[in-house]
Structures are given as structure tokens and as C-alpha cells.
Amino acid sequence: MALGEKSISSPLSAIKNLFKKPVTVRYPNEELEVYSEKGVSERFRGVHSNDMAKCIGCGSCERICPVNAIVMTLPEGSEDTRKQYRPKIDYGRCCFCAFCVDVCPTVSLKMSKEYDFTSAAPMKLRDGEEVKFVMDEFNYLPTDKYDDNPGYVTGKKKKVLG
């Protein structure tokens, strides 16, 4: 009815909500069913994944990160030239803005649809040691582990950031 009209059966109009399906989703037994595929959307900004063969170690992602979350480090067993450095991301600082994906010149750094990033600390650690253990785990070197589940993928050729 339009705004301002009254009727004696107004309180009973809420009974139709008894027979509707609830809005909540019982994760992980059920999955979201909003988009054309199950789960999150096709442009979701989740955990990073890096194609180690395509990355050339240029450092553009380190220069544009607004919160200094990326540091270029040398993985174990590589020689010390510029081309062998790979980005290492601190997930305590990352704000998931995807500027690093937009400026990558070889389309090697991508963001996947994964959002579950947990770490289990052993029970025998005490206060300060447990914090240091979790901080070390959150400094993550992205590999191509999540490359089969791509979410936000662009690159410098698409000219998203100019």
C-alpha cells in the first residue's frame, strides 16, 4: 500500500516471512550462489600468486605499494643478480588494493579467489615467541600455488593505471 494508508490487517502482513528461505549461508556446508559460478565473484581480490618463470624482478610492485608491504628478496639457492629477486608480501600490512597487479609488466603477479590464510602455532610456544612465529608466517613469498583459481588479473598492457 502507499505511504500513509492504514489498514486493520497491517500487523498480520508480516506472517508471509514465515515461509521464506533464510538469507544466511551455512558455510562450509553450503556455498554462496549469487554469481554464475559458485563462490566469490570473478574479480575478487584475494591471496596473491606469482608465476616464478615470468617474473623478471623489476621492482615496480615494490615502488607503488602504498603501505610498504612488498620487499624484493632473493630466494634460496639463486645467484645475486637483479633478475632473480622475487616480491615478498607482508599480509599484516597489505590492504588488498591490487595496485601491484595493475603495474606488473609481464602479467606474472595475480590475485586469486582464495581468502583462507591461516596458520597454526604449536602449543608449546609462550607469549612473545608465538607472536614472532605468526609474524614470520605472515611474511609470504607468493608462488604459483593458487594459479588455477584466478580472480583479479590485469597487467601493464591493459593500461588500468595509465
Binding site: N68, A69, V71, D90, R93
Partner: protein, 159 residues
């Protein structure tokens, strides 16, 4: 009136006015007699005071207090700027003209250290027990503050 008439009117009163873009002009006034000009602007229907800001020009050794004024009938926005010296930052308050200026001036006093004469209550609004320099000045070093007071570190060592 439209923009060209307003510019001619303000320039003939002794202010320096120039146009920035469509619908916006900027006016530079002197700190001794700017209140008479604000009275005049309020009488020709410029009645919306949006904000009072401070800017720190450390190379020229001056502070600048900026008033953002707008008129609902002319639809023109004025950026009204007044410069004061950095060693003795004192300026007159405009609480009698606009009531909301009391809270805007409290915020500028807390972050820059500029004293407004005539404002009865200049106690701190946002920060609590602050002992250091006023924070938005250009000689306040935030990196040194976070390292010494909070103990935080830059990711990946010193720059």
C-alpha cells in the same frame, strides 16, 4: 551577481581576487582588516561557512588561515586566505559572525598552535595529553615519533 561583477566589486575594495575555475574564486586579504570584508560578504548573502583550515608555509616563515565561504543565491565558492607570521601566530576570532566557527577554530588551534582572540574555549578536541609540537606543522617528524614513542619499524630495514 555573476563572477565578473563579483571580481570587480572585490578588487575595488582593496582585496586581490582572481578566478580559479567555473564557480570558484580565491581572495587574499590582510590580517588587520579582514573582519570588515567578512561582514560585507555576509551582508550580500554569502552565508554558508563550510570550514576553516590552516596551512603551514615553512619556507616563507608564515602560517595561512583559509575560510571557505559559499553563497546559495549566487552559487559561487570563495577561498578566503589570510597570512600571519610564524613566530607570533595570533589572529582574531569570528565567533560573533558564525556560531560553528567556535569548533573549527578549536581544531586549528590544536593542530597548528594558532591562537584565536575572542574564542572563550580553546581546549583540546581530538588529542588527549599531547606533550609534543602541534602535529600538523611541517617540522614535526612522524617517522621519528613512531620509532621512539611506539617502537615501530619500517618493513625491510632503514631506507
Amino acid at each position: 551577481m555573476n563572477i565578473t561583477e563579483l571580481l570587480k566589486d572585490l578588487n575595488s575594495r582593496g582585496l586581490e581576487a582572481e578566478k580559479i575555475c567555473d564557480g570558484e574564486i580565491k581572495v587574499i586579504a590582510n590580517k588587520d582588516n579582514f573582519i570588515t570584508h567578512l561582514h560585507y560578504l555576509q551582508s550580500i548573502n554569502y552565508e554558508h561557512l563550510a570550514n576553516i583550515n590552516g596551512v603551514d608555509y615553512i619556507d616563507e616563515n608564515e602560517f595561512e588561515v583559509v575560510y571557505q565561504i559559499y553563497s546559495y543565491t549566487d552559487k559561487i565558492h570563495i577561498i578566503f586566505k589570510v597570512r600571519i607570521p610564524r613566530e607570533k601566530p595570533v589572529i582574531q576570532s569570528i565567533v560573533d559572525l558564525w556560531e560553528q566557527a567556535q569548533f573549527y577554530e578549536r581544531e586549528v588551534h590544536e593542530f597548528y598552535g594558532i591562537h584565536f582572540e575572542g574564542n572563550k574555549d580553546l581546549s583540546p578536541l581530538f588529542l588527549e595529553d599531547w606533550m609534543d609540537l602541534p602535529p600538523l606543522r611541517k617540522d614535526f617528524d612522524t617517522e621519528r615519533f613512531s620509532e621512539i614513542v611506539m617502537g615501530s619499524m619500517r618493513n625491510g630495514g632503514k631506507k
